[in-house]
């Protein structure tokens, strides 16, 4: 669609400053569908069930992953791709979960990908009408990875219910970018893309909030265990979280420690992709 350049009234070339202005950038989103070859960054989409993850996934990739107004629609990962500002992104739509602490298969798929899949950015989609329960998951994900962008979706529904969300205040409290969105209508998509790019490239340095455990005994136990975790796995980005899971006796993390999957992670190698068919 190069018709625009032929219009006589349009300037021959945009002003140099405009090319780098983020406002222009959304127009340069190129949806790649399922073509995810040779990506520069991987981006994971996480969030509670029925918050609009698949809607955002479809808006970014141009795919038509089935969306439905009920929890539990996506139980496997779906993958798609898009190009933004000349970088290729691979987007992974994870199953919706309320928490990453229990052990059902769908939660494990989400947790394992965020932990072992090493996404460059994790978008956590939160429902503006049920923010406190959604923040539960945001906080847990912030404990695993600091490269997070929070999308507060369904802002229109919140407005209908007389709820307003102070996303600037949230950004301050969480230490990561927070974008208000109405994904069904594409509102907030340009801002989301901008933050994804900035967090992926490292231009935006996040300062994620730490889990406040409110238990001195637990903090003491963690203080003893964390050095041992970092000694066994130098360079592990989330030693505190791994220590906490070990204290809790999480079987799959214990297994990952034992069989060296966690070791690959600390050496900066992405482990073999988790084999899961996409239905």
């Amino acid at each position: 669609m190069s018709n625009h350049t032929l219009e006589p009234t349009a300037p021959a070339a945009p002003h140099a400053a405009c090319a780098t202005c983020p406002v222009q950038a959304h127009a340069r989103l190129r949806k790649l569908g399922v073509d995810v070859s040779g990506w520069d960054y991987t981006v994971a989409l996480a969030g509670n069930p029925n918050t609009g993850k698949s809607t955002i996934f479809n808006a970014l990739t141009g795919l038509r992953q089935h969306t439905g107004n009920w929890p539990g629609k996506t139980v496997t990962r779906a993958e798609g791709g898009f190009v933004y500002q000349n970088k290729r992104y691979k987007l992974i739509d994870l199953p919706g979960t309320y928490s990453l602490l229990s052990t059902s298969t769908d939660e494990e798929v989400a947790r394992d990908f965020i932990l072992f899949g090493c996404p460059n950015v994790t978008i956590v989609v939160a429902d503006a009408t049920r923010l406190e329960r959604n923040l539960n998951l945001v906080l847990q994900i912030l404990a695993i990875t600091d490269r997070v962008v929070v999308a507060v979706n369904l802002i229109d529904e919140a407005r209908r219910h007389g709820i307003t969300v102070d996303t600037r205040g949230l950004t301050r409290d969480l230490g990561v970018p927070v974008v208000p969105m109405v994904a069904r209508r594409g509102e907030g998509l340009p801002e989301l893309l901008g933050f994804i790019a900035e967090v992926a490239s490292g231009a935006y340095q996040t300062r994620p909030r730490h889990l406040a455990l409110r238990n001195p005994n637990l903090e003491r136990a963690l203080d003893q265990l964390i050095p041992q975790v970092t000694a066994a796995f130098p360079g592990l980005p989330n030693a505190r979280w791994v220590a906490l899971r070990l204290l809790d006796g999480d079987p799959s993390i214990t297994q990952a420690v034992r069989d060296g999957t966690l070791g690959d992670l600390s050496r900066g190698l992405a482990p073999a992709p988790i084999a899961l068919e996409v239905v």
């Binding site: 923040l135 969300v165 102070d166 969480l174 455990l213 637990l218 975790v229 906490l244």
Partner: protein
């Protein structure tokens, strides 16, 4: 005695866990939740008026009420099927006139004019073309109406309310409440429903959900039910009520499916898969105004076209196989006639016939082709019998009803039992593979495959015997 740092780490973690005691998991969850509440309180403000919430709750009070919940569900489902059946009538007959009349005769005329050999035009036109044409004319109109309506209900947020109503029943039989969700996924596709059971944490309850998922009528089976309801069950009612009776018959089979799901779940929790039902909480999503145009588009593209193309892809080779097996003569009859003749006595016992049983074997890869396969087999096997007697069948004059009653000797019992057998038979091969992938157990895959067939045989045998003893047939 050198232990690796990893072993030391794990030992230390175990030691510290003992010191901390068993409350750790809950404490961590509570701490995170307290933090979340604090942050949310700072950033969320609520205005005084909450009319929308109140509206949602008022609707929910009716929709999920103990008294009105189920009648409303039955009413809505009947409405959806009624619209489907009443709306599909006219386009169905137009399509049939076109594809099975004009185009079919045109193709034969064209083949005759270029002097194509009879076996070639038979294989291509009476085999491959006819099978795919039946698929399109029989399945396209009802699907193009039913799928968008069903997707609209889903988009609106009604399906989780149905799951909420059913939850009580599932809990009552000792199964997981989330089984109601995977069951409803099965109303789209059983393979997807089996994958959806991943939301169930306990392996015991998940197995129950996997085994019983096949009792949810899937995309491939709705058209069979709708067609049988429309042409046979509706014929027993006065014309004014015909579509309503047809819709009610489809709803009845759906509800029998839910009932069988519950009964089988109850039996499993009392025999092989004993255990306590685990608790879960389900969130009722807000009612969202459905995006009508988008829903129409995606349900037409994603469901109608995919189901239809799967049916066409399967029907074309099946049509060729059926034509060949009906025209290759071994001894005194065609191969198909031999097989049908062999299956006929058993089929008769079940109130079905050999053609239907053979069709269910041919259609293992895709339930979508049941009706076209039955029609093709009835036409080819039946026609050769009639041809011997000197009767010619004009295809465009007789549609499905006449083909089945005159050539196949069908009665209302055949149609009703076909509807029941459509509900109760083995899953399609895709679903069987999915069950294997999800359970990795030959035993459970086999049980999930054979249990429904056994039930189907038992149920149809019973209805056929009762109907015959009572003298209805």
């Amino acid at each position: 005695m050198a232990t690796s740092p990893i072993d030391q780490l794990l030992d230390r973690a175990t030691g510290l866990r003992r010191e901390l005691g068993g409350q750790l998991h809950d404490q961590v969850s509570e701490a995170i939740f307290a933090d979340a509440v604090q942050i949310a309180n700072r950033s969320v403000s609520r205005a005084g008026q909450q009319a929308a919430f109140r509206f949602d709750r008022a609707v929910d009070r009716v929709v999920t009420s103990r008294i009105w919940g189920f009648p409303l569900m039955i009413l809505l489902l009947t409405g959806v099927f009624w619209l489907t059946i009443a709306g599909a009538n006219v386009p169905s007959s137009i399509l049939a006139d076109l594809l099975l009349g004009t185009v079919y005769n045109g193709l034969h005329a064209a083949a005759a004019s270029i002097g194509a050999p009879a076996w070639l035009s038979g294989l291509l036109i009476d085999g491959i073309y006819l099978a795919t044409a039946w698929v399109v004319s029989v399945m396209l109109p009802p699907m193009a109406i039913f799928f968008p309506l069903f997707t609209l209900l889903e988009d609106l947020g009604y399906l989780p309310r149905v799951a909420f109503n059913l939850d009580r029943l599932f809990k009552g039989v000792g199964a997981h409440g989330k089984q109601s969700l995977s069951m409803m996924m099965g109303w789209g596709c059983n393979a997807a429903g089996v994958v959806a059971t991943r939301i169930i944490d306990s392996p015991r309850e998940r197995l129950i959900a996997i085994i019983t998922n096949n009792f949810s009528i899937c995309n491939g089976r709705w058209p069979t039910l709708i067609l049988m309801g429309t042409i046979f069950v509706a014929a027993t009612a006065p014309p004014a009520l015909a579509s309503l009776v047809a819709a009610a018959s489809v709803v009845t089979v759906t509800i029998i499916g839910i009932f069988v799901t519950l009964v089988v779940s109850a039996l499993l929790t009392r025999t092989w898969l004993r255990g306590e039902a685990s608790a879960f909480s389900m969130e009722l999503p807000p009612y969202r105004p459905p995006q009508v145009l988008r829903t129409l588009y995606t349900s037409l593209i994603d469901r109608t076209v995919i189901v239809l193309s799967r049916a066409v892809v399967m029907a074309a080779p099946a049509g060729a196989v059926i034509w060949l097996s009906s025209n290759i003569i071994v001894g005194d009859a065609s191969i198909a006639a031999h097989v049908v003749g062999f299956l006929n006595p058993f089929g008769w016992l079940l109130g079905l016939n050999g053609v239907i049983l053979l069709a269910y074997i041919v259609a293992i890869p895709a339930n979508e082709i049941i009706i076209p396969t039955i029609l093709m087999l009835t036409l080819t096997v039946g026609r050769s019998e009639l041809a011997k007697a000197g009767v010619m069948l004009e295809l465009e004059d007789d549609l499905v009803y006449q083909t089945l009653t005159q050539l196949g000797g069908w009665t209302t019992l055949t149609a009703v039992n076909l509807m029941l057998f459509s509900l109760l038979h083995n899953p399609c091969s895709t679903t069987i593979m999915t069950i294997w992938n999800e359970t990795k157990s030959a035993k459970w895959t086999l049980i999930a495959t054979l249990l429904p067939v056994a039930l189907g045989i038992a149920v149809t045998l019973t209805t056929a015997t009762v109907a015959r003893l009572a003298g209805w047939i």
